[in-house]
């Protein structure tokens, strides 16, 4: 077979560029054959061997950890201010999030990665792994950066060294992006994945819940502008990170990598203050103009019924229609009928159909005041359910009348 291949290649080499009539024969390599099949011709990329690790580290202000791996370590006092928040908020327990009602920040490990691609899958490499922890009076940031693939294993080992048993991972969109990628790479390398099995709070979820309906998008950048009061200056967009590292790997061009380190550092810092910021939002949603009903639902969904009720009660003055209905629903469940009815009545006056239906149900099943119930039911728009309710109420009233006044039944 290999003989045959040789012959085929030999035949192809005899091919002249494009026209069969020209006798001048140029070398037709495999690459030429491929190019000819494709419509476009690509320009080859030159390959320069990357600089050595020491030089690489020096360019980033990092130190060499292992062959192919450097680390940028940054220590920030907890007095450091990031936007309108101080890191000082990480001194004591952070309380109030639906996902984790109380967290000792010393257990928190903030994680953010930069990768060779944004599409996921095993072929996407994590070339920068940023982690941050509260250690004593400081927030310590460690950003592991690969100078070549050889450092990947060491990166996982270093991360594992800095990890601890009861760590709680905090990320932004890590559940669907960063952590699956880390897991895939660890598996591919056959090395221990210290991120696996840890508790993990993806702060994208509480952010999206509280602000999803209110902000145009819920990217970390939007949270910085709208919540943290932080503005990045000369930030390298995250989407350019892959090309920046590849420029170094393929051409030895490290010029854009410091920008990636800065970008990743801002991500980590924003993550670190987003945690207490969101705790505030969940405690005082009205103050932060968050979606109060959604915050309450977030609590309820995780079994914190009391907190959910509490949020609605404290912010009752700021509830929109959906929030008010949610609150009334909770009141109903607690059988606080007068309060619930007051809310429904207020909503009915504004033409809310669901409140009207709730009142119809209340009068039918709780008060057994069928006439009042019928009054509400008849004002409901035509729908099979509503028609059935009206019919049933009319029957109930008739039966009641008959019981009270048997003469009506006489032929």
């Amino acid at each position: 077979m290999s003989n045959d291949l040789k012959q085929r290649l030999a035949t192809l080499r005899r091919q002249s560029g494009i026209h069969p009539a020209t006798p001048g024969h140029s070398d037709a390599t495999l690459a030429d054959r491929i190019r000819r099949c494709h419509a476009t011709v690509r320009t080859p990329v030159a390959s320069t061997p990357p600089a050595d690790d020491e030089r690489f580290a020096a360019m980033l202000g990092a130190s060499v950890v292992a062959p192919g791996l450097v680390v940028v370590e940054t220590r920030l006092s907890l007095d450091h201010q990031h936007g309108c928040f101080r890191l000082r908020r990480l001194r004591g327990p952070v309380r109030g999030l639906a996902e984790i009602t109380s967290l000792d920040p010393r257990r928190a490990v903030f994680v953010d990665t930069e990768t060779t691609g944004l599409s996921g899958g095993t072929g996407t490499t994590v070339f920068m792994l940023g982690m941050a922890r509260v250690v004593g009076p400081e927030l310590v940031l460690r950003q592991y950066v690969l100078s070549r693939f050889a450092g990947e294993r060491a990166m996982f080992a270093a991360a594992a060294d800095w990890m601890f048993d009861d760590a709680v991972l905090l990320s932004f969109n890590g559940r669907s992006f960063d952590l699956p990628l880390l897991q895939a790479r660890a598996r591919l390398l056959g090395c221990h994945d210290s991120f696996a099995g840890k508790s993990h709070v993806d702060l994208l979820h509480p952010t999206r819940r509280a602000f999803g309906g209110l902000w145009p998008d819920c990217r970390l950048l939007s949270a910085e502008q709208r919540l943290l009061g932080f503005e990045r200056i000369n930030d390298l967009p995250g989407s350019e990170a892959p090309a920046s590292w590849l420029a170094y790997l393929q051409r030895g061009d490290a010029s854009r990598l410091p920008g990636v380190v800065q970008h990743n550092q801002w991500d980590l810092l924003s993550l670190a203050v987003l945690l207490p910021a969101l705790a505030d939002v969940y405690t005082h949603p009205a103050r932060w103009r968050a979606d109060i009903a959604a915050v309450a639902r977030g609590y309820a969904a995780r079994g914190h019924e009391l907190r959910a009720f509490d949020v609605l009660q404290r912010n009752r003055a700021s509830l929109d229609e959906v929030g008010a209905l949610e609150f009334a629903r909770m009141l109903r469940r607690r059988r606080q009928w007068p309060e619930a009815c007051a809310i429904w009545q207020g909503l009915v006056d504004r033409g809310n159909v669901e409140a009207m239906e709730q009142l119809a149900k209340y009068h039918e099943h709780v008060c057994k005041n069928y006439v009042q119930a019928l009054d509400y039911a008849q004002r409901l728009p035509q729908a099979p359910d509503h028609v059935r309710r009206v019919r049933r109420l009319v029957e109930k009233i008739a039966r009641l009348n008959a019981a009270l006044c048997p003469a009506l039944l006489a032929p």
């Binding site: 054959r33 990329v45 590849l246």
Partner: protein
């Protein structure tokens, strides 16, 4: 159904299928050119294996199996012995048990996992249903799940971690599983069996892609330390073991002797009657298929009609509905089934067929596969399907339940059809075709080297395909998508390569058909890229379940066609032109008067207009023009040319020579398809010069025309150089290896084409030899046939 059964006047005890077959044979003696009765065959059995798991044995017994067919036992023994096998037995011979049995046994014995691959999602669902009945019967507790584009996100994890049998398709393996193999680590570690059903569908471009996907699968398995046994199943083809081993890259044992019983089969070869002897014009295949299907349905027989094109499916459905479904208050008895219908609609038709709610279905090759549609009695093929294998596969759709069945192959006026019905012994005795794949086709291989590099870095010296991998990787490095470090090649591009590689075609992007009749925008169908240009041009009548829609606008870039319901009494058929330019000759066979060569060509295809054809009368009622981008392709071709001096001396005029070339090309194309055992669609044909300065087609006046893209029709004598060639080209970008065997058989192609034309009974040329000619030519005594024979004899000197 009930009413039609009453009309049947078959004597008690006579099987209605046999009765119909006899009646057709007696009444249309002249049209039946060949027949075959395959007697019913008894089953051959073997005992259940001794080591069969107790629970599995009970499950089989509950389902009524206390023994196996001999081929099922053979498969069991081979698979248990760790050998890859391919099982080639007819439809309904219990193929699924050949793989389900060892797979379930291994799942029970040692939690072994299995991956099932079916070419379509519909077949996957049937399969899971089948496993779960066995599962329930024996309370086996084996978990089988489908994993395809329809599997919801939250269910995927359960499939990955808990599935014992994962049923999927090659596209999903390629795009959804392999690039995420680390999520499937547990599954790959315990993967013991890979089942590939409907193997015969993995040929040509698709098969070449699938072979590469399987190379990637085996590579990933090696990474996780597993080496699964492959169990393949196929309809009849000439080379099952060869195809199987080409697909999986390892030696495969073939099991080809079915032990299943089979009902009596009647097969009739049917040639429509000649209606104009001089012109050699026969009644249409369509009229004959209609007649046969109509009497079968009237006799209460479940009937299926296979048509060659989607258009013909719609036309036949309309005509049959005009007979059987004229009362809109009654449920429809006739239904169409073809690619392009939405999945829900197809599932609905399948269900009605299984329940017997439909009496007649008209389909394209879409129903050729093992989709479960229950028992059918009669199968009518409107036109030869193009290959012997496909013919038997389609005929096999009738008579699944060991009842007598009838198949009728109705020949069209195409040469291949005529050749088959006029030489019944050829067809009845011929072996089915070879299924060819070329996994090392450069572009296809390169696509999968990309995907494989994404999945796992290549190591220096690692085998993958038969080309020089190192050279391919260096090419990819120059493109910037891989990076070599420490003797490994890492993927470095910001992309997911599998998403840009479609297994089904070399071009990508399906078109959706959007109905805007009622103000809304409903997607009513999908059309694949390769046939979009010829079916969705603006003005085209697009038919769905025999309801005509007219294409109002075609958004080529957005891949959308907007259609509106119409009452047009015509359908449309596109006209296309192809010009070819020779880029290079790989091999040549030169003689004094003529030359034959094989090489690389560049081809441009333009769809320039369409004809409007009225229903029933089939007259041409108008033309429209089409403005679509040209389609380009590099491929390989074989071409035949005659020296200019010889042409001048042998032909009275260039016009006569051109007619001869066109006639010869027509005959050679069809013979070549038969000779190389490929399907006519796999080969394209063209007549032109090798410089793309002109090409030739048969014009509306029935004579050859010389044209170019710039000026349209040009005069034959205005051209300085006149060196026409017959081109037969590999109809896939880059070629998939059809031109080499064709070049090897260049003599036979010319000789047999000459013999076919020479032996044809017509006087001046007809659709069965050199293509249709006009009545006026016949009156003038001009013979395309003679010109074609002259060309063929000059070419035959080799």
């Amino acid at each position: 159904m009930v009413t039609s059964a009453k009309r049947v006047s078959v004597a008690a005890g006579v099987n209605p299928v046999r009765h119909l077959a006899d009646r057709l044979r007696d009444k249309y003696r002249a049209r039946v050119t060949g027949q075959l009765v395959i007697p019913a065959r008894r089953g051959r059995y073997a005992a259940l294996p001794d080591d069969l798991d107790r629970r599995l044995r009970r499950a089989l017994e509950v389902r009524g199996f206390d023994r196996l067919y001999s081929h099922q036992r053979q498969a069991w023994d081979a698979v248990r012995g760790g050998r890859h096998v391919v099982v080639v037995t007819p439809t309904a011979s219990g193929k699924t048990l050949c793989y389900n049995l060892p797979v379930l046994q291994a799942a029970l014995e040692r939690q072994a996992k299995a991956l099932y691959l079916f070419p379509t999602k519909a077949l996957s669902q049937d399969q899971v249903a089948e496993i779960s009945t066995l599962n329930q019967a024996g309370e086996l507790g084996v978990r089988a799940y489908t994993f395809d584009g329809d599997t919801p996100g939250d269910a995927r994890k359960a499939v990955r971690t808990r599935g014992d049998i994962v049923v999927s398709n090659p596209d999903m393996l390629h795009q959804g599983i392999l690039p995420h193999h680390t999520k499937w680590a547990q599954f790959f570690e315990s993967l013991r069996y890979v089942v590939i059903d409907e193997m015969h569908t993995y040929r040509g471009v698709f098969g070449s892609h699938v072979a590469n996907v399987l190379r990637r699968l085996r590579r990933i398995c090696r990474f996780y330390g597993s080496d699964p046994v492959f169990i393949l199943c196929s309809a009849t083809i000439a080379n099952p073991a060869q195809l199987a081993s080409g697909l999986i890259g390892a030696q495969v044992d073939a099991i080809e002797d079915s032990g299943a019983p089979q009902g009596e089969k009647h097969l009739l070869l049917w040639n429509p009657p000649v209606i104009n002897a001089e012109l050699g014009i026969r009644a249409s295949a369509r009229s004959q298929s209609m007649r046969i299907a109509r009497s079968a349905v009237k006799q209460g027989l479940k009937t299926m009609v296979f048509a060659q094109s989607r258009l013909m499916v719609e036309v036949l459905t309309k005509y049959l509905k005009d007979v059987f479904d004229h009362d809109p208050r009654l449920p429809a008895r006739v239904s169409a089934y073809r690619g392009g219908y939405l999945p829900t609609e197809r599932r609905g038709t399948e269900r009605k067929l299984r329940r017997g709610d439909i009496d007649c279905v008209v389909s394209t090759s879409a129903l050729e596969l093992g989709v479960d549609i229950g028992a059918l009695d009669v199968c009518v093929l409107n036109g030869y399907p193009g290959s012997i294998a496909a013919t038997w596969q389609r005929l096999g759709r009738a008579g699944r339940r060991q009842r007598p069945s009838l198949g009728v192959l109705v020949a069209s006026s195409q040469p291949l059809d005529q050749y088959i019905v006029r030489n019944p012994d050829f067809f009845l005795g011929a072996s089915p075709e070879h299924a060819r794949i070329d996994p090392d086709q450069l572009l296809i291989l390169l696509d999968h080297v990309r995907c494989a590099a994404f999945e796992l870095p290549f190591r220096d010296g690692e085998p993958f395909g038969k080309e020089n991998l190192d050279e391919l990787l260096r090419y990819l490095r120059d493109e910037g998508v891989v990076h070599r470090e420490d003797r490994q090649w890492y993927w470095t591009a910001d992309s997911y390569p599998a998403n840009s590689v479609s297994l089904r075609s070399v071009a990508e992007g399906n078109f959706v058909v959007v109905d805007i009749s009622s103000g809304g925008k409903n997607v009513v169908a999908e059309v694949d890229y390769s046939s979009a240009a010829e079916t969705l041009y603006e003005g085209a009548i697009y038919m769905l379940q025999a309801t005509p829609y007219q294409v109002e606008t075609l958004d080529w870039e957005g891949r959308k066609a907007f259609v509106r319901g119409t009452r047009a009494d015509y359908y449309t058929d596109s006209i296309d032109y192809t010009k070819l330019k020779i880029l290079d000759a790989f091999e040549r066979n030169h003689h004094t008067r003529s030359e034959c060569a094989r090489g690389e060509v560049h081809l441009v295809r333009r769809i320039s207009g369409y004809k409007k054809i009225r229903y029933y009368t089939h007259e041409n009622v108008g033309y429209g023009s089409i403005n679509l981008p040209d389609q380009e392709m590099h491929t390989t071709a074989v071409w035949w040319q005659i020296a200019s001096a010889t042409l001048d001396s042998q032909f009275s005029s260039r016009q006569a020579a051109l007619d001869g070339f066109l006639g010869a090309a027509y005959a050679m194309h069809h013979v070549a398809a038969l000779q190389t055992m490929s399907e006519p669609h796999d080969l394209g044909r063209a007549v032109g010069d090798g410089d793309a300065t002109w090409f030739a087609t048969v014009g509306a006046n029935g004579r050859g025309q010389m044209r170019n893209f710039e000026q349209g029709e040009i005069h034959v004598d205005d051209q300085g150089r006149f060196r026409p060639a017959v081109f037969l080209y590999d109809n896939y970008p880059g070629g998939i290896g059809l031109s080499a065997p064709l070049f090897d058989q260049r003599h036979e192609v010319v000789e047999r084409a000459g013999a076919m034309v020479g032996a044809c009974a017509c006087s001046y040329g007809c659709p069965a030899c050199v293509g249709p000619i006009l009545a006026s030519d016949e009156q003038r005594g001009y013979s395309t046939k003679r010109a074609a024979l002259e060309v063929l004899s000059l070419l035959a000197e080799h």
